[in-house]
C-alpha cells in the first residue's frame, strides 16, 4: 500500500465520518440533504476503492441519486403550508 493510496483512503474515511456527523447536526434541512447526497457519492467512491465498481455504480445511482431526489422533493414539499396554494414555499425555518 503506497503512502499515496493511504492518504487517499484516509481522506475518504475522514470525510465519511465528518460528513455523517455534519448531516445530522446541521440546522437547515436543505443543506442536510445536500450533504447526504455528497455522503452517498463518497460512499460510492469508497466502494470503488474496495474494488467493487458495479456495486459502487448501483450505490451512486440508487443511494445518492434516487434517495437524494426523493429527500429533496420531500423537503421542498414539506416546507409548504398544508393547503398547497400557489404561493412559493414560505421561507419559514423548517422544524430543525
Amino acid at each position: 500500500m503506497t503512502s499515496l493510496e493511504w492518504l487517499m483512503d484516509g481522506v475518504i474515511m475522514l470525510a465519511l465520518i465528518v460528513l455523517a456527523i455534519r448531516v445530522l447536526l446541521i440546522p437547515d434541512l436543505f443543506r442536510a440533504v445536500f450533504l447526504f447526497i455528497v455522503f452517498g457519492l463518497l460512499m460510492a467512491l469508497a466502494w470503488v476503492r474496495l474494488d467493487a465498481p458495479d456495486i459502487a455504480l448501483a450505490e451512486a445511482a440508487i443511494g445518492a441519486g434516487l434517495t437524494g431526489v426523493l429527500l429533496l422533493d420531500a423537503v421542498r414539499h414539506m416546507h409548504r403550508p398544508v393547503s398547497p396554494t400557489t404561493q412559493p414555499p414560505s421561507e419559514k425555518e423548517a422544524a430543525p
Binding site: 500500500m1 445530522l24 466502494w47 476503492r49 474496495l50 456495486i55 448501483a58 450505490e59 434516487l66
Partner: protein
C-alpha cells in the same frame, strides 16, 4: 492495518453515528436520513469484508448481499418518505408530535 480493517472501522463509526442520529432527530426526514447513514455504515462493513481476501477477484457473495441490501434500504426509505409526506399532509407537522420516542 490493512485497508479492509480501516474501512470496516469507518463503517462501524458511521453506523454508530447513524444510530445516534435516529434517536436524536425529531424531524421525520432527519430520522430517515439517519437510517440511511446507518445502512451505509453496515454496507461499508459488508464491502470491506468482500475485499479482505486478496485473490483474483473479491468475494462476490457479500457484494450480492450488498446490492440486495441497497435496494431493500431504498424501498424502505421511499416507503418512509411517502408515509412522512402523508403525515405532513394530514397533520401539518413533520414530527411525531404527540410524545417523542
Amino acid at each position: 492495518m490493512t485497508m479492509f480493517l480501516a474501512y470496516a472501522v469507518t463503517g462501524m463509526i458511521v453506523f454508530a453515528i447513524g444510530l445516534y442520529g435516529v434517536v436524536i432527530a425529531r424531524h421525520l426526514l432527519r430520522k430517515i436520513i439517519a437510517l440511511n447513514i446507518m445502512a451505509g455504515g453496515v454496507f461499508l462493513f459488508l464491502i470491506s469484508i468482500a475485499a479482505r481476501n486478496s485473490q483474483a477477484f473479491p468475494d462476490p457473495v457479500p457484494q450480492a448481499m450488498l446490492l440486495t441490501g441497497v435496494v431493500v434500504a431504498l424501498s424502505a426509505t421511499a416507503f418512509a418518505i411517502a408515509l412522512a409526506r402523508r403525515i405532513y399532509t394530514v397533520t401539518g407537522s413533520a414530527t411525531l408530535s404527540d410524545g417523542e420516542r
